[in-house]
């Protein structure tokens, strides 16, 4: 019998935590509790982050136990080249995303304008406004909640990892040997379940704060309704731009997440332009030698090429175009094509009687001309 991931277990973990949080008396601001279906967004002021990883620990303590252990032995996929991923023996890994670790902190050392700088960047799912991971999931396992939270239903996900492939940051992580695929055709279809940050959905549903927001000693993250959070991010970014000696209208260089992938509900604000942060992130990933350090093993495969181990499970921070843009644009074709068809039909365009090429025209009696004009 497959070790099913019960939604009840998932929620139970959440409820237990919720009880703890409620006891601590921490609740979402009034605006968030009154959200009524509006999207929640977080703003991260990176100049405040000291890299203590209290957020990472809180996330792990709260959610790691909700991710089940795989069956033993794990089904061998067919064909044999299909890789299985098992992080269950490496649950301690916290310096990259894994199925048992939804959040990690990128520690960066770099130079900016001749000064040595240190920056710490908590990384997890961005909760895109129009997320390809959920939209393109063929089985409805990828979900967008009314409050904008993007999560993966562990009871439905088959672990095919399409969500990871279409996510510009390759966020979702697979654990093989768990989930509903074990009850279907484990060797031939599916490969586990994809896991990622669900923005503490069970807690948020009760009006509580996400754990990583709540425990941060420096109050790096704020969460609220999207319009207010965007205004807050802009005001903050204008300050950062000014402090960095840039023109105030360059404030967008100091935010990440407002335009990326068509817009996300996670907005980072940095004291230096994100072009600089992105370069530092890339450099850090390139320097992470394969197979060294905890969590540096298990390189993922992207685009047919095995990615360098330092990049696997560690999202980049460069510009990202809207991955859903093409689908959004092609919607016009879906609207126009039937309209054009109707117009052509009603004007009898291409609808005139044509004698079939293999039949002499005189075989068509007038009664069968179908009212041709």
């Amino acid at each position: 019998m497959a070790q099913a991931i019960s939604r009840r277990n998932f929620l139970r973990g959440g409820l237990a935590t919720a009880a703890g949080v409620a006891a601590s008396g921490v609740v979402l601001p009034q605006a968030v509790r009154a959200a009524g279906g509006q999207e929640l967004c977080t703003v991260l002021d990176l100049s405040k982050c000291i890299g203590c990883e209290a957020c990472v620990d809180a996330c792990r303590e709260t959610w790691q136990a909700t991710v089940p252990d795989p069956v033993n032995p794990m089904p061998k996929p067919f064909p044999s080249r299909v890789p299985t991923q098992d992080w269950s023996k490496r649950k301690d890994v916290s310096d990259r995303l894994t199925p048992y670790n939804f959040l990690y902190v990128e520690h960066l050392d770099f130079e900016h304008k001749g000064q040595a700088l240190e920056l710490h960047v908590p990384r997890r799912c961005m909760h895109c406004v129009n997320p390809p991971c959920a939209n393109l999931c063929p089985f409805g396992a990828g979900r967008v909640e009314k409050n904008g939270i993007v999560n993966i239903d562990p009871d439905v996900c088959l672990g095919g990892a399409k969500c990871k492939q279409v996510c510009p940051w390759h966020i979702p992580q697979r654990q093989s040997g768990v989930g509903v695929y074990l009850d279907i055709m484990p060797s031939y279809a599916g490969n586990g379940v994809m896991f990622k940050c669900h923005r503490c959905l069970p807690l948020v549903k009760q009006g509580k704060q996400p754990q990583c927001v709540e425990v941060c000693p420096e109050h790096v993250q704020t969460i609220g309704l999207r319009p207010q959070m965007l205004a807050q991010a802009e005001a903050l970014a204008r300050q950062k731009a000014q402090a960095d000696g840039a023109a105030p209208d360059r404030w967008r260089d100091y935010v990440y997440g407002i335009e990326e992938n068509g817009g996300t509900n996670t907005v980072y604000v940095s004291p230096v332009p994100f072009a600089v942060v992105s370069a530092a992130v890339n450099q850090a990933h390139a320097q992470a030698a394969p197979g060294q350090g905890k969590g540096r093993a298990g390189a993922g495969k992207q685009g047919g090429k095995r990615r360098k181990a330092g990049f696997a499970g560690r999202p980049p921070m460069g510009p990202v175009n809207n991955t859903m843009e093409s689908a959004e644009n092609l919607t016009a074709a879906l609207v126009l094509a039937p309209l054009a068809g109707l117009a052509a039909g009603f004007t009898r365009l291409f609808g005139k009687k044509q004698p079939p090429s293999d039949q002499p025209p005189q075989e068509q009696p007038p009664s069968e001309q179908g009212g041709q004009s």
Partner: protein, 158 residues
Amino acid sequence: MSVMSYSPGGRAARWLYGIATGFALFSGFGQMPIFKRYYLADLPGMAWTANFFITSDIHYLAAALLLGLLAWRLALDARTTGAAWSWGPRSWWGWTLLGLLVISGAAKVLRNLGIYLPPPLIMVLDFTHLGSAMAFMFTGLVVLVKPKPKPNLRGLAG
């Protein structure tokens, strides 16, 4: 001597319908992560089948062509009698499947625009779309291999 009816658009319409349904089915099944797993994407010139954004775009274009053809056919049928269509479903079963595909597909398109639909509804839509596509494909295959019926003069045959 047999009395002949006519098929509007002739062979071109039939070909377009075949191309549209063929590409829609192929790109639709390509939305599941199977083409890479089962080596199709490894065949020369087929690497694109593993790119979900390309197969999604093809799916949209094939669906647009199909919708255009069906709309043209419906409008022409409203204006004209006596057309014996040589393409498209021949039974209420085929039309029902096509209807389910269009409705569930339209809802999925709205979702892809970022319009909120309740997640349980999306799951129903996804499985309806997938199930009707498979049924449509198998029905089509059965019709293709079955011996052809005699030309039906009444146009849309049962």
